[in-house]
Amino acid sequence: MISTDRTRKLLIRQKLGDGVFQVVAVVGIVIALATLAALIIDALVDGLPRIDWKFLTSFPSRKPAEAGIFSALVGSVYLIALTAVVAVPIGVAAAVYLEEYTNQSSRLSRIIEVNVANLAGVPSIIYGLLGLELFVRAMRLDRSLLAGALTLALLVLPIVIIASREAIRAVPSTIREAAYALGATQWETTRDHVLPLAFPGILTGIILAVSRAIGETAPLITIGALTYVAFVPDGLLSPFTALPIQIFNWVSRPQHGFHINAAAGIVVLLAVTLLLNALAIFLRNRYQKQYQ
């Protein structure tokens, strides 16, 4: 029978295609993971032996062996906390508005949606330029912690909005209908049912946003964040430096000792990022269980 023969051939070809695709996919993931592993191992080998309590609690110095990361570490932590304080409420509020309060198919909401998606793809240096003109110069915040945090908040706002919208959208409409049926207002429904259910998803968005913000260098350099700061910020308008800037400076110095410091700084930055992520994942899992 010719037809079964043809079918068999077709099947063989399909299986072959399947196999090829699988190989390509595996190669892809191996390349991605190997690059990541190489980067991390390289930084760990150079940097790990350099990290001690003194390195974490010393200010920058011209002598590589005496230089530490204290002002940069504290600066980064303050910066990220402040960024989250600004970006999260605005981002979540925007997401609630777009998902719960507007007509999804209206022209306005579609325009907003497209713009938010586009903003997420704007290169970070552009946000830096905006921050420089708007916060540093027009609002006269100078090169302060607040100016840096507001700039980073703008940068991560689209990520928070998009993730929060996804999370809110995933809440089944039956929940809302049940709440309405019992006489709850729209705000009560959102506050008591939709947001709590969406919370784990929103938290995921915040993790992504914060992880992105903590590693950003370009916008901070553009707004003119400083390199040598031998004190801890003592207020919103205090000058500051951050981990990526300190690392960037050390990498570009001629002395090998500074390159070791840079590797150690990278390890610290990775550790801080992982710590933040772990905290957020822990919280997410906790609340996920509670509301299911």
Binding site: L195, L226, Y228, D234
Partner: protein, 335 residues
């Protein structure tokens, strides 16, 4: 539960950022500018703050040009510069009523380097360097034997600092005669370590950058001596070193680097003390961070200049100038 958690987090974050903020401390000395001068200013700031705990010095790296933009807007007190102030920057300062005092703080040598196993390049004359780097060379001068016929018939590859750096401005002025005039087909990096990599990995590589980067990578690179063809600056090709830069025989690739102080800021006691501290300790500290100190006499003259608050640039606000002696630096008869 959720609300208590969110509210608590927000409260903690807000309190922690506001609580420790009893108004912004005023005793702040703001420095920004050249990445070349940064290590010197960082060293001075470090020592100064050890002695004066209540003063705070911040140092940024915006490049010489970027630093002057902030300085000219009155956003900084002191600007680090690896070349003298340019006309456009003089204009900006004038527009905003910023008067400045120009103070040389150290010398920096520019090293011309090739691959360590390159056995044909023994020295360069200034004329040969110009033929290598001039704008007209782009696409035409590509092989070693076009520079000197006995050199191999092989393609070379060039590497140099970015066009925003004072180092590039100075090199192009010294070699090609005009700031910013050079061929464009070379490997560019703002990070001199990348240039070190580029040349040390390529048998036919050739590049230039700050002497300090050569000193730290001696085993990876070969330093090339330069002959400027002028007997008064020493005969024959001369290697850059502490002595040859200091006694001005390594010409034209050694240059002074500066700090510019706003006259208005200098009225503040903490800034005044900082500058005096800078000029007193620059001698030792520049050496420590890999630069070449000026002669003692120069620091004395610079201090005088500062104490008399002599404003303006001895270069007439025209940017990079080559072959400058200490006497010229401090303008015997300044404006």
């Amino acid at each position: 539960m959720l609300y208590r958690f969110t509210q608590a987090t927000l409260a903690v974050l807000i309190i922690s950022t506001f609580a420790a903020s009893p108004a912004f401390s005023a005793k702040l000395i703001r420095v920004d500018g050249s990445s070349t001068v940064y290590p010197i200013t960082e060293a001075v700031a470090e020592e100064y703050q050890k002695e004066n705990r209540k003063f705070r010095v911040t140092v940024g790296i915006s490049g010489t040009g970027g630093g002057f933009k902030k300085f000219g807007r009155g956003e900084t007190d002191i600007s680090d510069a690896s070349r003298p102030i340019k006309p456009s920057e003089v204009e900006l300062c004038a527009k905003n009523g910023i008067e400045y005092i120009e103070l040389p703080v150290a010398y920096d040598g520019l090293a011309v380097i090739v691959h360590p196993t390159n056995d044909w390049v023994d020295y360069f004359t200034v004329d040969e360097l110009r033929r290598l780097w001039e704008p007209d060379a782009q696409g035409k001068i590509t092989h070693w034997n076009q520079i000197r016929p006995e050199w191999p018939d092989k393609k070379f590859s060039l590497a140099g600092p970015g066009v925003d750096s004072g180092t590039y401005d100075y090199f192009t002025k010294a070699i090609n005669g005009a700031e910013g005039a050079s061929r464009g087909d070379f490997v560019v990096s703002e990070d001199d370590n990348v240039l070190v990599q580029a040349v040390s990995n390529d048998l036919h590589g050739l590049g230039f950058f700050g002497l300090a980067y050569y000193e730290e990578n001696k085993d990876l690179l070969k330093l090339v001596p330069i002959d400027d063809g002028k007997a008064e600056n020493g005969d024959g090709p001369i290697f850059p070193s502490l002595e040859t830069v200091k006694n001005s025989t390594y010409q034209p690739l050694s240059r002074p680097v500066f700090i510019y102080v706003s006259k208005k800021s200098a009225e503040r006691p903490e800034v005044e003390k900082f500058i005096e501290f800078y000029l007193t300790h620059a001698n030792v500290l520049t050496n420590e961070v890999g630069y070449i100190p000026l002669p003692d006499e120069a620091y004395r003259l610079a201090m005088e200049r500062f104490q008399n608050r002599v404003t303006g640039s001895v270069f007439g606000g025209k940017g990079a100038k080559t072959g400058v002696s200490v006497q010229e630096l401090l303008g015997q008869g300044s404006e």
